[in-house]
């Protein structure tokens, strides 16, 4: 059954290209001569953002970025692009994206263990010399335990998340905070070593209070981290306009105070779910229009001894061609109208075919009798049901996808999977078709790939500087880029006007004048 469907798919494509006048018979198995294989069955989904569809290499530049994360001095733009180009060919899954979080994890573990170490070390080393410490110490123990628990939970909630992007430069706030934590803990250890460990301090209560103060300080640093990393950028301050260079799709977003690199990550998050997928096939004017523009200019003069007469003649030809060129807008208009009409026709056929196909199956409820001896009915699972009804609509679907240039995005396998999904969830034909009638966001076509997407941030300012008015940066991918322009949101002066609810009174305002 599957083979039959695949054959049908390939033959639909082939037939469409060859010959439109043949009668549309669906019985393809009777034709013997079509042995051309066009697509391997079950071909995985094309990376929707690549134009190199034919010579596609799976080990293609997907992962992390560019510059070594340890240098602080600036790397110029050319270096960035050069290094990125080198990296695109080689793609092992980089461990570099985990260095930052690993470092942060170690530091926070160290910071969390320190208060416990402060408490435990005197007990271990000079237990008998310590002053006994009764109820106040126990109170401090309890509060210490709870504060550590809160620190642990909030660190887990806030910071222990898999990183979503690697940035080209240091993330300034995060580095600042890590340095702060390190300095704090180091200075506490220093003080502890000099004042407690060396002279073997006997006042245990003081030591416990010291450890408690460290935990308080860590809590405050965590508050600072919360504000700097999570809260500061929530209040909107700038409006970003994002335009895709190839087809002009644009969107406006409101962001808060961010650095350029963080704003870039933010924009890319939104790009994957807001922008329609990049389709390179939809970009060019039809060749018929462009070629007519060009024909007037093919004037070669091969003879070196041409007289003035022929140059004058060629000039006249060019002038005539320039005048003739004015009709191309006319052709463009009619070509567009024709294309629209064709798409609508194909769409109508597709919708009817799908509706009809969906009427062929129905869901079997548990209490219905599956089969009786007189009318045996085959009970199918969703996959088989999908394959059964796919055959009548395959041709219409193939033609529609070709007309709208979407066929690289949808392989037969993906359509069958989607059909199976829709049948399982009791969707109507219209819900099934929603995925094909409008080009969806890029997210819809992404494979779940652990390797990530490679983007290059191109900017004239250093990427850790904050957003400000008039800044322009762009995010480049292989064959298109997104240009981002920053404008500040206007300052709003909100005034107040109080209206007494009793002040709403009305009179008739009539001064009619009638002619008699």
């Amino acid at each position: 059954m599957g083979n039959h469907v695949q054959q049908l798919w390939q033959q639909c494509g082939f037939k469409d290209r060859r010959d439109r006048h043949r009668s549309k018979s669906r019985d393809s198995s009777s034709r013997g001569d079509k042995s051309v294989t066009i697509q391997a069955p079950g071909e995985p989904l094309l990376d929707a953002e690549s134009t190199r569809g034919d010579d596609r290499d799976d080990n293609w530049g997907e992962t992390t970025t560019v510059v070594t994360g340890t240098s602080e001095h600036s790397v110029s733009n050319e270096d960035l692009t050069r290094v990125s180009k080198e990296l695109e060919e080689s793609t092992p899954l980089e461990c570099k994206r985990f260095i930052g979080p690993a470092l942060g994890g170690c530091l926070s573990f160290f910071a969390l263990v320190t208060p416990l170490a402060f408490l435990v070390l005197p007990q271990v080393l000079w237990r008998d010399a310590l002053d006994p410490c009764g109820t106040p110490c126990e109170g401090l123990y309890v509060s210490l335990a709870f504060k550590l628990l809160v620190l642990l939970i909030s660190s887990w909630a806030l910071f222990l998340r898999p990183p979503r992007a690697t940035l080209p430069r240091f993330f300034v706030f995060r580095c600042l905070l890590m340095v702060l934590v390190f300095l704090f803990v180091a200075s506490y250890w220093l003080f502890y070593g000099v004042r407690v460990l060396e002279p073997r301090e006997r006042d245990y209560r003081g030591i416990v209070e010291y450890a408690a103060s460290l935990v308080d300080a860590l809590l405050f640093i965590q508050y600072l981290a919360l504000v700097l990393l999570e809260v500061r950028h929530l209040q909107p301050a700038f409006c970003l306009k994002v335009v895709r260079t190839t087809d002009g799709a644009s969107k406006f977003y409101n962001v808060g105070h961010l650095s350029i690199q963080r704003a870039a990550v933010w924009v890319l998050d939104r790009y994957y779910s807001d922008f329609p997928v990049y389709n390179p096939a939809l970009l060019n004017l039809p060749k018929s229009i462009l070629s007519k523009k060009m024909t007037g200019f093919k004037v070669y003069s091969l003879d070196e001894n041409t007289t003035n007469n022929s140059t004058g003649q060629s000039r006249a030809m060019i002038a005539a061609a320039a005048r003739r060129r004015d009709n191309s807008h006319n052709e463009f208009y009619y070509e567009e109208a024709e294309m629209d009409r064709r798409i609508r026709k194909r769409k109508a056929r597709l919708v009817v075919a799908v509706e009809e196909a969906f009427t062929h199956i129905k869901r079997l409820h548990e209490d219905e009798v599956a089969s009786s001896p007189k009318h045996p009915r085959e009970v199918m699972d969703p996959r088989e049901a999908a394959q059964a009804i796919f055959a009548p609509m395959a041709r219409a679907m193939q033609k529609y996808l070709r007309t709208t240039r979407q066929q690289p995005f949808h392989s037969m396998e993906s359509i069958l999977t989607h059909l199976q999904f829709c049948i399982t969830h009791n969707m109507t034909p219209k819900a099934f078709l929603e995925r094909y009638l409008t080009p969806g966001p890029t997210m819809q076509y992404q494979q779940q790939n652990g390797r990530g997407r490679q983007w290059t941030l191109v900017s004239e300012e250093p990427v850790t500087s904050a957003l400000r008015q008039g800044l322009v940066f762009s995010l480049r991918r292989l064959d298109f880029s997104l240009v981002v322009t920053v404008t500040p949101l206007p300052f709003l002066r909100l005034g107040e006007e109080f209206i007494d609810p009793k002040s709403h009174k009305f009179v008739m305002r009539l001064q009619s004048e009638t002619s008699v």
């Binding site: 009179v507 008739m508 001064q511 004048e513 002619s515 008699v516």
Partner: protein
């Protein structure tokens, strides 16, 4: 021309008889009215007392039957064919004036200059 509620209204009036003119199967009189008890009396430019809700002549068309009969702009209409016009709505006034089966309307109108003329003549007459 103000009145005290509950007391009879007294005014010096002029009798004006207007012949209706036929124009494209309408019978027109050639003037416009304004005012009425359902209208805003403060907007009346012709009344002395701004609480007066009577019917006033707001426009007289040139060469029309009203002008020929001597109606002037700013006149207050007191009666039309015997019907009172001092306490009517605007629409009732219009209907009283535009009855299709009447060819002639006899109005009683009053204006300030009439009052003044009478008072002037009365003051000149010592007895």
């Amino acid at each position: 021309m103000s009145f005290v509620p509950g007391q009879p209204v007294t005014a010096v009036v002029q009798r004006i008889e207007i012949q209706k003119l036929r124009q494209n199967d309408h019978l027109i009189l050639g003037f416009s009215i304004g005012g009425g008890i359902d209208q805003d009396p403060g907007q009346n430019p012709f009344s002395e007392d701004k609480t007066d809700k009577g019917i006033y002549v707001t426009r007289v068309s040139e060469g029309g039957p009203a002008e020929l009969a001597g109606l002037q702009i700013g006149d207050k209409i007191m009666q039309v064919n015997g019907w009172d016009m001092t306490m009517v709505t605007h629409d009732q006034a219009r209907k009283r004036l535009t009855k299709k089966n009447e060819q002639v309307v006899r109005l009683l109108v009053t204006r300030k200059s009439l009052e003044d003329a009478v008072r002037h003549s009365m003051s000149n007459y010592p007895k």
